[in-house]
Amino acid sequence: MVSGHLACPGCGAAIAMRFLLKGLNEKAVVALPACCWSIIAGPFPYSALRVPILHTAFETGGAVASGIRAALDARGETETQVVTWAGDGGTFDIGLQALSGAAERNEDLLYVCYDNEAYMNTGVQASGATPPGAWTTTTPTGSPKRTRKKDIMQILAAHRIPYAATASIAYPEDLVRKVQKAVALHGTKFLHIYATCPTGWKVASEVSVRLARLAVQTRIFPLYEVEDGERYTINLEPVGYLVDAYFEAQGRFRHLGREDLDRIQGQVDRDWDRLKALARLG
C-alpha cells in the first residue's frame, strides 16, 4: 500500500488493508468487488496497492476469486494466495450467494470482509451488517433499524470451512496473525474485520481505532476463531464494559434512549454467553 490512496481521514478500511497486506505473502492476487475500496485503491491509471488487483462487480467476490484460483492452478501457480477484499454490503447482502458457493466448494481462497456496517461508498445506506438501532440514510431516525445484524460468522461456520475469524483494526497483532494463519491453510478462509467509518458513524476521524477497541471491550464485536465450523476459540476476554460508552460516542445512535440501550445490552450479553458456550464445546 502506498500513499496517495483516496480514503477519508480515519478510514478503518484503509487501516484494515494495511494489516491484511502485512500478513500476506508476497505472492497474492486481490479480487475487489464494488465497495469503498473500489475508490480508495485509485482511479485508472493509478493503483495504491502493490499487489495485482482485479476490480469486479458487486456480487462476484466469491466467484471471480474462484476463477482466478482455477486459472492459477491451471498454470501451476498454486502458491499464490487469492484474496477477495469486500465490504459488508458485498459480503452480507449482494455477494452472499457467490461467497456461499465458493465456501461450499471449499475453494482455496481468503475472503476478507471489512465491515463498516452500512453501504458507505454510496452514502450510508443500511446493509445486512447494520446493527439494530443505527441511523442510516435508509433507516432514518424516525425509523431506525429494528432487526439484528446478520450473523455472518455463523453463516460461514455453517459451511464448515476450515477457518473463519473475526478481527479488528484496534488489535493489529491479532489481525495479522489471523491473516498469516489463514494463508497457511488450504480451502476457504473467511476473515471478518471490524472497520470504523468516521463519516457514516458520525464520529471524529481520530477516534476510529478507539471506537473499534470499545466494540471489542464491550463484547459488541468479540474476537474469535472458528475452525472447521466447529471449534470456537475466543481470542480475548474483555472486561465487559457496558455498551453505553460505545453508543454514546457515535452520532448514528444519538436518538437511542435508555430502553434501547438496555435491550441492546441484553442482546450483547446473550450473544456473549452463547459464544462462550460454543468455545467450551471446543
Partner: protein
C-alpha cells in the same frame, strides 16, 4: 474423423479441441448436455482443464472473467434466463476485453415457462459488446466454436456462438471432427501479457473517469470493426485447413447466375428448412434466393448491402421480437439498407417464437405473401393462430 454428434456434444468436442483451461457453468435446460459432457471430459482426464461448478449463471461468467484475467482460455455456456442473469457480467467481460467464448442455446424467456427455441434471449444482449454468430447445423456449431476462439483472441472481445434449442442442441448429425494437431496449428495457446501477475502487479478495471471511459469504448468499437475486417481471411484460413467455409452473409441463389425476384433472409436452424422450401418453391415455379445471415455482431452492414441491394423485395424471418418494434434482424437489415438510393422493399416476418415449428409451408406462405402484397407498414406474423 466423421462422428455422429449431438449439437451440444459438438460444442463440448470443440471446447476440448480448443484446449480450454477453465470451464465454469451453471445448469439450465437446454444447455445442460454441453456442460455435462465437459464435466465428464475433465473428470476422465481427457481434457486438462479446471471445472468450476458455481451456484448461478452470474457466478459462472464471473468465474470465467476471473480466470481469463489470470490468463486462462475459458469457456461457459448458457441459455435464456441464465443468459439474462449474466447480463451484467456480459458487459464486464467485454469491457475488460477478455476473449471469453460462450455457447448460447437460444431459448425463449418466461413467463410462461418455455424451454424451446427463440433468439430473443441472445439478441437482447446485443449491446453488451459481445460478438455473436448464429449457426445453421451441428457441423457449423463445432466449427464456430474454434473460429470464435481465434477471432476473440485476435481482437480481445468475447464471443457468443448461438444455436437453437433442441433443433440444434439435441439433434444428432454426422459431423467431421478435425484432428487435434490440425486444431493446434490453427489455434495456438493464448498468451496474453495483460494479466494478473504477482511479478508485475497492476490494477485492472478500476474507476475510469470521464477523461478515460469514452476512449475505452472507442477502442471496443474499433475492435468490432477490426473483427469484421479480419473475419473473411480467418474464414478462408479455416476453409483452407478444414475444407469448410462460413461467410458472414451467404447467398444461396435458386439458380446460379440468375436473380430471383425475392431474397429470403434467415438465421440459425431455420436456414436448413428454408433450403428445402427453396427447392419446393422452385419446383412450383416460384424461384427465391436464400440469404443466410450468420454474423450479427459485429454487424456486416456493407456485406448485407452488397448482397441485398439488387433485389426488388427482401423477406426476413425473425425467430425473435423486440416488443414495440419488430424482428431484430429485419430491423438491422432495414437500417443497413436505408442509405441505399434504390433499396429493396423489406417484408419483416416474426415466426417460430417459443419453439413453434417453422415448416416449409410456413416459409412458402412467407414467400408468397412477400411476392403478392404491397410492402407492409408494420411487422408481419407467420404461423400465428388468429
Amino acid at each position: 474423423m466423421r462422428r455422429v454428434l449431438e449439437g451440444s456434444h459438438a460444442v463440448s468436442c470443440a471446447v476440448d479441441l480448443a484446449r480450454v483451461q477453465v470451464i465454469s457453468a451453471y445448469p439450465i435446460t437446454p444447455q445442460t448436455h454441453i456442460v455435462e459432457r465437459l464435466a465428464e471430459l475433465v473428470a476422465d482426464g481427457v481434457l486438462d482443464a479446471k471445472y468450476v461448478r458455481v451456484e448461478s449463471e452470474h457466478s459462472a461468467l464471473a468465474a470465467v472473467i476471473g480466470a481469463a484475467s489470470a490468463g486462462a482460455r475459458t469457456f461457459t455456456a448458457s441459455s435464456s434466463h441464465g443468459l439474462a442473469l449474466m447480463h451484467e457480467m456480459l458487459h464486464w467481460a467485454a469491457g475488460a476485453r477478455l476473449p471469453v467464448v460462450m455457447a448460447e442455446v437460444n431459448r425463449a424467456l418466461g413467463p410462461g415457462w418455455n424451454i424451446w427455441a427463440d433468439q430473443t434471449d441472445s439478441l437482447a444482449q446485443r449491446d453488451t459488446g459481445w460478438m455473436q454468430v448464429y449457426c445453421e447445423d451441428v457441423q457449423e456449431v463445432l466449427d464456430s466454436i474454434l473460429l470464435a476462439y481465434k477471432l476473440a483472441e485476435q481482437v480481445s472481445l468475447p464471443m457468443m456462438v448461438a444455436l437453437d434449442a433442441f433443433f440444434l442442441s439435441h439433434t444428432y448429425e454426422p459431423v467431421d471432427v478435425p484432428d487435434q494437431q490440425a486444431v493446434d496449428a490453427f489455434l495456438p495457446p493464448w498468451t496474453p501479457t495483460e494479466i494478473l501477475d504477482t511479478r508485475d502487479p497492476r490494477a485492472f478495471h478500476q474507476l475510469a473517469s470521464p477523461d478515460y471511459y469514452m476512449e475505452f469504448r472507442y477502442k471496443m468499437q474499433q475492435a468490432m470493426e477490426e473483427a469484421l475486417r479480419l473475419y473473411p481471411a480467418l474464414d478462408a484460413e479455416y476453409g483452407g485447413r478444414f475444407g469448410r467455409s462460413y461467410p458472414m452473409v451467404q447467398l444461396v441463389p435458386f439458380r446460379e447466375g440468375a436473380r430471383a425476384p425475392l431474397a429470403l433472409v434467415t438465421t440459425g436452424s431455420v436456414t436448413g428448412t428454408a433450403r428445402v422450401a427453396q427447392e419446393e418453391l422452385g419446383r412450383r415455379g416460384t424461384p427465391v434466393d436464400l440469404v443466410k445471415l450468420r454474423l450479427f455482431r459485429p454487424f456486416p452492414q456493407a456485406e448485407v448491402r452488397r448482397v441485398l441491394e439488387p433485389y426488388e423485395r427482401v423477406a426476413v424471418i425473425d425467430r425473435n421480437l423486440s416488443f414495440g418494434y419488430g424482428g431484430i434482424f429485419a430491423q438491422e437489415i432495414q437500417a443497413a439498407l436505408a442509405r441505399l438510393e434504390r433499396r429493396p422493399a423489406v417484408y419483416p416476418f416474426v415466426a417460430g417464437l417459443g419453439g413453434r415449428d417453422i415448416t416449409p409451408q410456413t416459409i412458402s406462405a412467407v414467400v408468397e405473401r412477400s411476392l403478392g402484397e404491397a410492402p407492409p407498414e408494420d411487422l408481419l406474423w407467420a404461423g400465428l393462430k388468429e
